[in-house]
Each structure stands twice: as structure tokens, then as C-alpha cells.
Amino acid sequence: VLRLSAPERALLANLPKEIDEVLAALGSAGDHDVDDGQSTEPSDPAGSGFPAIAGVPAVPPSLKRLFPPAYTRDDEAERAYVGAARSELLDHHRQALQTLSDTATAKVLDAEQLQQWMTALNDVRLVLGTVLDVREDGEPPPGQLPQQLIYYHYLSGLQVELVDFLSGWLPLPTPGADDLIPDDPWGEPLGGLRWDGTPLPEGP
């Protein structure tokens, strides 16, 4: 049973809806581009930093965390991956956001809806966190917008509760799964840079 106040529920209905509207534009722009074939120019107008993909609309910077690259050293493979996976990923995010928005006033949720809430809460956090430029070091981002920052931390708290709850419903671990992961092939620590070239935080 979900105990949330009316303003909380209003927030949970509205935030995902706003993001979904942007995603909807992304989806329809994709259809449009494929239809008229005018998306062949490799440009990156949104400044997302990712290679532009013909037939796939550029992702606005605020949403780039919802569509991470799979290949960072092989542009050709990345184009193929985006071409194959983008629409499925888009649908996945949109479905989760719509479920959260539609069931924000529900008193009882089923397991599937709770999973969708968790995904959608994280999606909203990823977008807010990107817009707010949340940093690893905990420094308040420059030029922060207090209201969005409050939303961000509120959603973080709610997500922790949800993850805690859903953890109790995970199936038993798969026998042998722990042993399948090879040792880190690069040794440690990583050479100081993330895949996107930004520096890593200091270790413990």
C-alpha cells in the first residue's frame, strides 16, 4: 500500500509526463526522418557529444543519459547499435514513464507496476541530474535550480525505499552466476578517465 501525499502524487504524475512528451517528439521525429530521408547529414546540433546517426534524431543534451552509447571506440558499430536498439529503448523508457504518470494516484500497485515505477523514477532522476549537472564530489552544482534539486533528492529517497522493497522480491541468485565474471582485464585502478574523457573521482 502506497502512502503518499497529494502534492507528492501530483509531482509523480507531472514530471514523467513532461519527459515523456519530449521522448514522444523524439519518436515521431524518427519516423519523419526515416520517411523523408533527409537526415543523412552527420551533424550534432543538440551538442550531445555523440555521433549523429542517419535516420535517428539527435537526443537533446538533457536526455542523453537515457540513451548511452554501447560502443565508444567504434563509430560504425555504434551507428548499427543505435539503429537497432534506439526505438526499443525509447519505448521502454516511455512505457515506464507513462505507467508512473498514470498510476501516480493509485493506492495499490502490482509487482510489474512497481518495477516500472523504479525505472521511471530513475529516468526522471537521470534527466534532472543531467540538467542540474550533479557531480560526484557532492559540491552543489553551479547555478542550481532549488526546486529541481528538491525534486531530485525527493525522488532519490523514494527510489531507495522502492529498491529496498523490491530487493526482498528478487528471485534466488542463479547458481554459478557469480563465477562467470572474469577478472578485471585492465587491472586497477582505471587509467584516470571515464569513457567520455572526464576524470574519475578519487578512490576511498
Binding site: 560502443y71 536498439a85 578485471d184
Partner: protein
Amino acid sequence: LTAPVEVERPATEQVLEADLPWLVIVWNDPINLMAYVTFVFQKLFGFSKSKAHKLMLDVHFKGRAVVSSGSRERAEMDVTRLHQHGLWATMERSGT
């Protein structure tokens, strides 16, 4: 009875090349919550809580962790599932 058969063996290097698995790597980011990352690892890969927690700590403190390996198709599928959960995952051929 079987007669010895001349088998054409590929050069060792070719075998190694073909056998090199793809690695799925999850990278650190400042937004995803530690408890959430642990949960996603358990859910997607069937890890024990302690293994998932250790991998999450690798991501957090070392900057990245390998969470799955296998064929290119398998790796792409795992990357997509991680992307669906908002995690920063990429794939690379091991040893490159």
C-alpha cells in the same frame, strides 16, 4: 576403425581472435544510486547480493566493472538491458 584424418588447423592467432569474448562494462556515474545499481546487477544477472555489491563498489571506486562476457550478440543484449535500466554500459572485445 577410424583412419587418421588430416585436419586443417587454423592458425593459433585466429583461434584466439575468434574466442576472445566481448566484455560488458558498467561505468561510474554520479546519478545512479548505489543500492539501485546493486539491485539491477542482481536482477539482470542473477548475482548473489554480495557479488552484486562488490561489483557496484568496483564501479563506484575503480570507475568501472565488467559485469558480463560472451558473444557479441549476448553482450549487446546485456548492454541494452543495462541501458533500459539507465546504467552507463558499454562493450569491448577483451584484450583490446
